[in-house]
Subunit: 315 residues, 4 copies
C-alpha cells in the first residue's frame, strides 16, 4: 500500500473538512473518517461516509418524529430486543460506505454478498497497481486433513520459502508481461513509442488472482452484520477475516450499542437444533445421553459439545 503524494493530499483535504450539518453525527467515527486502515500486506479499508447512529434504529422502529427515545438505557433495551428477535428492518436504517483495497481472490468471495452497492476499479479502463498479496509465513498452511475447505498445519522453513518464491516469481512475471502486452508501464509511461498495446480488457487476463484491486462498497448495517457474522467467523478464510475484523472495529465506533448486542447474540451466540436441545436437557437432568442415542451425527455432536464448552466433560 504505497500511496502517491497526490493521494495522501486528497485524503488530507477531505479530513480537513469542517461542515455544519443537522444530521446525526458520530464523533468517534468522524475521527477515523477517510483514514487508511491497513489490512494484509498492501490492502486497506477506509470509512468514506455513513448515515445514522444507534438512535436512528430506535427512531425508525418507532416511526417517531424525533430522535430515538429520551434515555440511552431505553434505546439500548430496544436495540437488544430487536437483535434477539431477529427484527431486521430497523438496522437497515443505518448505512456505511467503505473504500477497500483487496486481492482479487478475496474480492471474489466478498462480492457474493449481493445486498450492497459496489463500484470497482475498472481494469478495462485503467492499469491495475503493481501490488500482489504474499502471505506472511505464519499464514502459510497445508491443506486441512479433516476439513476439505480449510487450512491445517503451518508450513515452515524451506518449504515455506519455496511457496513464497513461486508466488512472488509468478506474480512479478505475469505483471511484467501484462505491461509488455499493454506497451505501458505501471506508472503510465509508454514502453515502445512506435508500437500500440493490447486492449486493457484483454491484457488483464494475464494477471494472477493475488493482484490487488479496489472498490467503493456501501451497505446498510443489517447486511454489514450478515457479512461480518460469516466473515469474522473462525471458519472464514484468514484473508477475508482480516478485513472483517477491522470492519468490526469501525462498527464499534459507529454504533456501540448495536455492536454489543451483535457480539452477544450473533458472533458469540449458537444455534441449537431441536435434537441438540433434547441432548442438553438430558445432560442437565443427568439422564443417560451419548452420541449413539442422541440422534446426532458425530460431527453434530462434536459441534454441540464444542459450542457449549463440554468437550472434556465426562457425560
Amino acid at each position: 500500500m504505497k500511496l502517491t503524494k497526490e493521494q495522501i493530499q486528497e485524503i488530507k483535504e477531505q479530513q480537513l473538512q469542517q461542515n455544519i450539518t443537522k444530521r446525526v453525527t458520530v464523533p468517534d467515527l468522524e475521527k477515523i473518517l477517510y483514514e487508511v486502515i491497513p489490512v494484509l500486506d498492501h490492502g486497506f479499508i477506509r470509512v468514506i461516509d455513513y448515515m445514522g447512529d444507534d438512535t436512528s434504529i430506535v427512531q425508525a422502529a418507532r416511526v417517531s418524529y424525533g430522535k430515538g427515545t429520551k434515555k440511552v438505557s431505553t434505546d439500548a433495551g430496544l436495540i437488544k430486543y430487536l437483535m434477539r428477535h431477529w427484527h431486521s428492518t430497523p438496522f437497515e436504517m443505518c448505512e456505511i460506505k467503505y473504500h477497500v483495497k483487496l486481492p482479487i481472490f478475496i474480492a471474489r468471495q466478498w462480492i457474493r454478498h449481493r445486498t450492497a452497492n459496489v463500484n470497482e476499479y475498472s481494469a478495462r479502463y485503467s492499469i491495475l497497481d503493481k501490488e500482489f498479496y504474499l502471505p506472511k509465513p505464519e499464514h502459510l498452511a497445508a491443506q486441512s486433513q479433516n476439513n476439505r475447505q480449510g487450512r491445517g498445519q503451518i508450513i515452515e522453513g524451506e518449504k515455506a520459502k519455496k511457496v513464497l518464491d513461486l508466488l512472488k516469481g509468478d506474480a512479478e512475471q505475469t505483471y511484467q508481461n501484462y505491461e509488455t502486452m499493454l506497451n505501458e508501464k505501471y506508472d503510465g509511461s509508454t514502453i515502445d513509442k512506435n508500437s500500440t498495446g493490447l486492449a486493457r480488457e484483454l491484457a488483464r487476463m494475464n494477471l494472477t488472482l493475488n493482484t490487488y484491486t479496489q472498490w467503493y462498497w456501501k451497505t446498510d448495517l443489517l447486511n454489514l452484520m450478515n457479512f461480518l457474522r460469516l466473515r469474522a467467523d473462525t471458519h472464514a478464510q484468514y484473508e477475508i477475516r482480516a478485513y472483517a475484523d477491522e470492519m468490526l472495529n469501525t462498527v464499534k465506533k459507529w454504533v456501540p450499542i448495536t455492536h454489543e448486542a451483535f457480539l452477544d447474540y450473533r458472533i458469540g451466540g449458537t444455534e441449537i437444533s431441536s435434537k441438540g436441545k433434547i441432548v442438553l436437557q438430558k445432560i442437565i437432568n443427568k439422564q443417560d445421553v451419548n452420541l449413539e442415542n442422541s440422534g446426532l451425527s458425530k460431527r453434530e455432536w462434536n459441534e454441540l459439545m464444542q459450542a457449549m464448552n463440554l468437550e472434556d466433560k465426562k457425560i
Copy 2:
C-alpha cells in the same frame, strides 16, 4: 396532518442541531431537513437523512482517493455520460431517508418498489391516527373509457358531493367502530374501564383503505430515480404522483446535476422501438409511411406520434 405540540417540538429540536462533520454536506438540502412538506390532505414527506452529493457519484465511478474531480464541469460531463449509458452503480452511492405519511391504498402501490428499506408504523402495536384521505373535488374523476387503468372526466356537482359524503361517512363510521372494538379512543383514552378491548392486530381490519399510515423509507439515488420515473409519470395515479413530485423537488436540492440529467434522459426522454425508428427515418426521408404499412399497432403509432409531437402533422 395535525402535529401534536410534542411532535412539533421534536422536529424543532432536530432542526436546531449544529453538528460538525467531515462528510460532504448539501446546504440546500440541509435547509429543509426534518421539515414537514405537506402532500394531499393529511399526508407529508420529510427528509430525515442523506448520504453523499453529486461529487460522490463521480468519486465512486472513478474509485478515487479524493472527492469528485477538480472541476464541476468535468463532474457534470461524467454524470450525464453515466445517465445516458444506463450506468447504474455510481448512482447507488448516494442514499436518502424520508419519513412519509400516506393513505394505505397508496402505501400498497409504493411498497411494490422492493429495493428500499422500510419501517412502517405498526397497527398491531399502536392505534392509527384518525385521518383519512378525501380527494379534492378536482381530483374526483370517472373511470376512463379507453384506459381500463385510469381516470376520465371530472365528476362534479351533486354527484361529486355524493361520492365525498359516502367516503367521509364510511371512513368515520368504521374508525368509530375501530375505537369501540379497541375500547380505546384515538387519543389513547379508555372507553369503558370495566371492559377489555379487541386485540389491535384484529381491530385494524375494520379500517378503510384511505386511512393514513406512515413509514420511514430509505433508498439509494438509483432506486429513487426508478421510483420517480414511474410515479412522477402522467400514467401514475394522481395520489402517488403528488408524493413523487415533492420528492423530485428534494432531489433537485440534493443532487442538482443528476437531477438535470435525469429530467433530460429519463423523465423527458422516450424509448423508440426498432420499428418506430424505421417509421421516423421514413418520415425524415419523406418516404410513404402510415399506420397500415408501419408494422405498428394503432396504439403504438399514436404513442410514437405523441412522443415526437407529430400528432397534428400531415404525414
Copy 3:
C-alpha cells in the same frame, strides 16, 4: 371462496395436463398442483409451478454435471450440513410459485418479504371480489396485557357477537357503497345505465382492510424458509400463520429432506446468546446461577428457560 364454474373448469384443465419433460419432477407435489387449499374463511393457496427438488440443491452445491449424488443418504447428509452451517445459495436453486387469496391486512404483512416476485390483482383495473375476512369466534381475542404486539384472552359470548356484527356490518356497507360509487355491481352489471361510475383506482379506497385480494407469489426455497421461519412461528399473527402452516405442508411434499432439516435446525431450533451459553454451562456444572447473577434481563432469562424446557426446574 366461491369459485365460478369457469374458474373450476380452468383449474381442471390444467390438472389434466400430461406433459413430458426431462426436468426433475416431484410426484407428491404434482398430485396437488393447481389444487385450491382453503385457508381462513375465503382464502386459499394453490401451488402453480415449481423448479427443482432435493437433488437440485446437491447438484448446485457440487456444481455437478449430473443429478445430485448417487445415494439418497449422501444427499441428505449434505443438505443437513448446508442447513446447519447456514449455507444459503444452494437452497436458492429451487423455486416455487403460489396463487394466494388473502385479506388485505395480511397481504400488507406478507409483502414485507421483499425477495419474491409478485403480481397482485389490480383494483385500479378490476373490481375486487365481494369477500371479507371474519374471524371464527375462537380467534377473537383481547389485546394482550404483557405483549403490546399480541393477543390475550379469547373474547366470547355477547361481546364476541358484537365485534363480529360490527366487522360484518361495516364490510358489507363499505362494499355496497363501493359498488354505488363504481355504478357497477360485484358481478360486473351496471347499476344505472344513464350514469358513469367513479374511477376504480379511487373507489377502492372505501373498502375495509379485511377485503380479500389475490396474487401470484414466486420465491426460491431459501427465501420461502425465511418467510416460514417468521410466519409459522407462534409469535406471528394467527391469520398469516394459517397460510404459513399450509405452505409448510407443501414444502414437505416438495423437498422432504430439506423440510426435515428445516424443522430440526430452524423451526425447532433456538439461538442461545453468549451470556445464555454461560448460564447453561453453569447449570450443567451445578454452579450457582440465577436471574440476578446471569447478566440476562428477566425477559431473556424466561425465554431461555422456556426454550430449554427448564421453567419448572428448581435451579
Copy 4:
C-alpha cells in the same frame, strides 16, 4: 472443454428422463435441455431447468385461475404492451437455470448482476480444471484510441503471435506451480507422497484470470433480459457477448413471443433524450438544426445520428 466419460454419461442420463408433469413445458427448449453449448475455446452454457413459458407471463399479469388467455394473439398483444410500458413483474414469473463454464475475468463482470442465484465451483474445496482462455487471433485487438474502455484495430502477425505466446506460457507456468504447491496434479494424483500440499484456498491465488471456472446461475426472465440488454450489446466486451448471444438463442426457444418483443423494444430500441426529441422534430420540420444549436454534446449528437441512421444525411 474436455468432458470426462463420466460427465458425458451423467448428461446423457438426464437427457433420457421422460417424466410426466402437469406443469407447462416448452418442447423447443426441452430439446436442448442439459446439452453442452460451446462458447469461447473451453467454455459452455447448458440449460439445466426452467419454469414457465409465454403463457405464464399472461397468467400472472391477469392473476387468472387458468393458463394465459384463450388466443395466442391476445397473449402476444398483452406481452408487447407489458414490454413497451416497462411493466416488469409479470416477466419475473418465468425462471431459468444455467450451468456455465467461463474464464474468471468474465465471471467477475457477470457476477455484478446481483439479482440472480449463483453456486460457483469452489477452489477452496477442489482443484480447478487445467483450462485457460486464449483469444482467437481475430479477437486480439489493440486498445481503442477514442474509447478508453474498448478495443481498436485487430492485432495480427508476429505481434499477435507474441501476445498469444505470453498468455499461454504464463497460464501454463502458473498452473504448473499451482500443482506444485498443492502437491497434486490436475487429475487428482499426488506428486510427492512424502509431502503435504499448500491449502487449496491459498494455492489458487497463483492462477491467472483467464483460468476457467464454472457455476450454476439461475435468474428470472426480467433479470435475464436486463443482463442480455447490457451484455449482448455491441459495447460489451466480446468475451461476455459470446455467452449472451448463446443465451439469447435459448430465450428464443423458451419464450418466443417475449423474445420478439424484447428485440423490438429493447435490443433494437433507442432512448431519445428530451433534447434529442427536439432535434428530431426540427429535422422532420426542415428547421435549421445542427450540433452547435442543438444543446447536445458532440458525442450525444453522434450517438443520436447513429441511432437514427442519419450519419450520412445532409441535414
